[in-house]
Amino acid sequence: MRKYGNWGYVFILPWLIGFLLFTAGPMLASLYLSFCKYDLHTLTWVGARNYEVLLRQDPLFWKSLTNTALYVLFSVPLGLTGSLAIALLLNQKVKGLAFFRTAFYLPSLVPAVASALVWQWIFHPDAGLLNYGLSMLGVKGPQWLQDPKTALPSLILMSLWGIGGSRMVIFLAGLQGISDELYEAASLDGAKGWAAFRHITLPMLSPTQFFNLVLGIIGSFQVFTSAYVMTNGGPNNATLMYVLYLYNNAFRYFKLGKASAMAWILFVILLIFTLVQFRSASKWVYYEGGEKD
């Protein structure tokens, strides 16, 4: 390790300045703004009024929060399970692995706007691919994005196209890091198949699982582009996502104080989620050698 006086600070200086300028400062400013009424022209201190209005009088706030919670509740567990399943399959010794890996990975590279447009067309009730596929199975498909009942599930379904992306690669790297000796030892003790998966693979993967879960929840809570491009929150606010509503408040209605209050509520929600996960981690996340970091 090099030790030369204060050079360390010089090296991290760009980040320190950036942290103050673009993170810490703006955080305080947005906290302050959240107690103000601000429309880009006049700034008035209103105390906790924004929070009160949001929590007590704004049905759209609750609608957007519920929509987003449902989205997270389904897309994260389904996505994680799917990613793990693909990683397990790609960890088998079969022919054509490179091809399969590419086929599963590519969708995650599709830019969000393009993906939204492609899926909007796939979900087209009359001529879309999905209902055509369903009709071949003899099922009459729903209206997907155009029906308030199926619009949110459509967005969840679409999000699953990307499960072969980085989360899957992280799982795969985690799987490949488990030493064969563990499985051999377990096999001598009679643990094979499901038992080996349950008692070796899952515990050994739990740090990876944890990492993917924490970042997955944070990411899903901020879903924006698909809702903005495909439905713009509709029909009947069925896909009004939290960040979309926040964006509308900030940059459409120019209620910057209210939008800041929404940002802080989101921050607190995510903080609680993350802390609970870190707390519970000691119960289910296994670190080799017993050390935690």
Binding site: S30, K95, V110, A114, L117, W161, T208, Y247, A263
Partner: protein, 283 residues
């Protein structure tokens, strides 16, 4: 019962089953791509035909030309590349400096600061979005590339710093000592020892930077107003407003947005996989 079969047959069966599931899955995941390409090559009448014709005859290659020119996509592509280029330089230079500090220099408070850096990964961007917007507005730099590029020069993002730090940790420390004895300054070591050895990691950073900027939607949506400064993602969104019913054009335009990322993946597969694996595993 498994005991009735030899372990080898069981393994073969397992592999055959995995292969079958992989085939089905790969087909399922590829269909949206085929559907997009197929639509992009149709006439407007063919698009809504049920059942759909997968291979349209004749193929309307002119759709791509129209999608490319109806809105100034060459300008959008140029803008996106300019933004990516400016931001990536900042990201590589500043993130590698910061990562060097965190990985290879010991100073009081280093670990606390590093964890602070990591914890900002958890901070939702919306918390800082509005004040940062107000700063750029105050500086009269809305509708310029500055808000989309300048922040990259201040650390380059948690992901980039983390990735580079992980890579720097794998480079033997003796090299630093040797260079120090040769009279190199700490910055000299960073520039002449560390960076040349980190080329694979830097390539990964450049790749992800490109993808991030190519994909970015909310940033340009907030900061860019005039069409001549649009990026591809915002341009495509505008294209949707104007040609939303002409799905063959919309899909052709979407492909303009998709294809570069796919091409990039085929050129640099290894860097992708390695970069993700390096940041996803515990350091």
């Amino acid at each position: 019962m498994a005991a009735a079969r030899s372990p080898r047959t069981a393994l073969r069966l397992q592999q055959a089953a995995a292969f079958a599931v992989l085939c089905a899955g790969a087909a399922l995941f590829s269909v949206p791509f085929l559907w997009t390409v197929s639509t992009a090559l149709k006439t407007n009448q063919q698009v809504f035909a049920v059942p759909p014709e997968w291979i349209p005859r004749p193929a309307e290659w002119a759709n791509f030309q129209r999608a490319w020119t109806e809105l100034p996509f060459p300008t959008f592509v140029g803008n996106t590349i300019t933004i990516t280029f400016l931001a990536t330089i900042g990201q590589v230079v500043s993130a590698s400096l910061v990562a060097d500090g965190f990985a290879r220099v010991r100073f009081p408070g280093r670990d606390a600061l590093f964890y602070l850096r990591l914890s900002t990964m958890m901070l939702p961007a919306q918390v800082t979005m509005i004040p940062v917007f107000l700063i750029w507005r105050e500086l009269r730099l809305i509708d310029t590339f500055a808000p989309l590029t300048v922040p990259s020069y201040f650390g380059g993002g948690a992901f980039t710093i983390f990735l580079l730090r992980q890579f720097f940790l794998t480079i033997p420390r003796d090299l630093d000592e040797a260079a120090l004895l040769d009279g190199e300054s700490p910055l000299g070591i960073w520039w002449r020892v560390l960076l040349p050895l980190s080329r694979p990691a830097l390539v990964t950073v450049v790749l992800f930077s490109f993808l991030g900027h190519w994909d970015d939607f909310m940033g340009p949506l907030i900061y860019l107003n005039a069409m001549e400064r649009y990026t591809v993602s915002i341009g495509l969104r505008m294209f949707q407003d104007m040609f939303g019913t002409q799905l063959e054009l919309l899909m052709a335009a979407s492909l303009i947005h998709i294809v570069p990322t796919v091409v990039l993946f085929f050129i640099a597969q290894k860097q992708f996989i390695r970069g993700i694996a390096m940041t996803g595993l515990k350091g």
